[in-house]
Amino acid sequence: MIEKIIYKKPDSLTDVNFSYCPGCGHSTVHKIIAEVIDELALRENTIAVAPVGCAVFAYNFWDFDVTEAPHGRTPAVATAIKRVLPDRLVFSYQGDGDLASIGMAEIVHTANRGENITVIFINNTNYGMTGGQLAPTTLLNQKTTTSPFGRDAKNYGYPFKMLEFLSPLEGVKYLERVKVTDAASVVKTKNAIKKGFSYQLQNIGFSMIEVLSSCPANWRKEPLDSNKWIEEEISKVYPVGKIKDIK
C-alpha cells in the first residue's frame, strides 16, 4: 500500500494546541491564514498584529512574526509596521469588540487612509474572552451577559455592519464577508483571505475580510448548533458575499 499525504497541518502553525474552545471559529481562521501563508510562501515575509481578546494568544500558534497591540489599536500598529517595511505582508487580526468598539477610530482612519494592509475581522457577535458581553455586532434580542434581557435598540443601539460602513471610503479597495460553517465556506474564506493578501502584495490598498465566526461557549450552544445559528440568524443580519472589490 502506498500512502500519499494530501492534507496536513500547515507549516506556519506551531505544534502548540489552540487555546480556543471546541468548535471556535478563531481556530479555523488561524488555520486557513497559515495555509494561505504557506501557499504564498510568505512565512518569512509576514508580520501579524494580534488584538486583545481571545486571539491575543495568536502568537503562540503562528510560526511567523507576530506582535500585539493595545485594545483596538491594532490597525495603527499594523500601519506603522507596513510603512516601515513596505515589502512585507502585514495583516491585523481583530475581533468585533476590538475592531468595532474600542478600536472604531483606528479602523476607520486606517481604512480611509487606504493603508496597504489586510484586516481579518472576526465577528462572533460578542466579547468572547471576557465572558460573552454585548458587542456592537450583537444581534437585536440576542442575550449576552451585559444584555441579559436581550439587546433592545433603545438601550443598546443596533448591530454594527462594519463592511457596509467602511465601503464608501475611497481608500478601501476590497471588502468581503465570509463564514466558516462547513468545508465549502471554509474554502471560500481561504480564497478571500488569499485575495486580500495578494492585493496587498500588488499594492492595491486596504482590504478587510469579515468572518462570521462561532463562539459556542458564550452562546451556550454546541459547535454544530452554533454553526446552524450562523446560517439561520447571523447571516441574515450580516449577509455573506463581496461588498466591494476595486481592482
Binding site: S19, Y20, C21, P22, C54, M129, G131, P216, A217
Partner: protein
C-alpha cells in the same frame, strides 16, 4: 476547625460550582468562608480550579498553598497538584479520568464518579458524586445543610433536578460507607 480545599479539573466539569457549593454549606453552618476561582482565558475545556476555605477563625489568605483536601477531577488536575500531597492531605480523585497515580498516602481515595454519574443517567452530576465521597470521608458538614443548600442552588430548575442531584450525592457517599 479550618478546612482548606482545592478542587481542580477541566472547564465544564463543575469544578467552580462544587467550590461554591462547599462554601455555601460552610456559610450556612455559620463558619467563615472564602471561595476563589480561577478566571482563565479559555471558557471550555481549559484547566479550572478553585480554592475554598471554611473556618471558625478569620481567614487571612483565600489562596490555598497547603490544602487539607484535594478533589481532583482528571489527570491534568492530579499532575498539577500531586506535589501538594503530604501524609495528612485527603485526596479524592475521579478514577475514571485519573489513572496514572502514585498512591503513597493513607488518605488517598479513588472513586469512578464518571461511571456512577452515567449509571444514574446524570453525567453532569459527576461533581456531586465526588462531593458525596468527600462529605462521607471528612464528615465535617451536616447532611441537612447539604440538602438545604442543594435545594437553594437548584431553585428555579426542574423539580427532578434536585432529586437527581440528591441521588448523585448519596451514591458518592455510599461508596465509602
Amino acid at each position: 476547625m479550618t478546612e482548606k480545599v482545592i478542587i481542580a479539573g477541566s472547564g465544564g466539569q463543575g469544578v467552580l460550582t462544587l467550590g461554591i457549593f462547599i462554601a455555601k454549606i460552610g456559610f450556612s453552618e455559620g463558619k467563615n468562608v472564602t471561595w476563589l476561582p480561577t478566571y482563565g482565558a479559555e471558557k471550555r475545556g481549559g484547566f479550572s480550579f478553585c480554592y475554598t476555605v471554611v473556618s471558625d477563625e478569620e481567614i487571612f489568605s483565600p489562596v490555598v498553598e497547603s490544602p487539607d483536601t484535594l478533589i481532583l477531577f482528571d489527570q491534568r488536575a492530579y499532575d498539577v497538584y500531586k506535589e501538594k500531597i503530604n501524609q495528612q492531605t485527603y485526596v479524592v480523585v475521579n478514577s475514571n479520568l485519573v489513572k496514572n497515580i502514585n498512591k503513597n498516602n493513607k488518605n488517598f481515595f479513588e472513586i469512578d464518579a464518571t461511571k456512577i454519574a452515567k449509571e444514574i443517567n446524570f453525567i453532569q452530576a459527576m461533581n456531586v458524586v465526588m462531593f458525596g465521597a468527600y462529605f462521607q470521608l471528612k464528615k465535617i458538614f451536616k447532611i441537612e445543610t447539604v440538602y438545604n443548600v442543594m435545594k437553594q442552588m437548584l431553585k428555579g430548575k426542574k423539580e427532578d433536578t434536585f432529586l437527581k442531584n440528591k441521588i448523585a450525592f448519596e451514591k458518592g457517599m455510599e461508596f465509602f460507607k
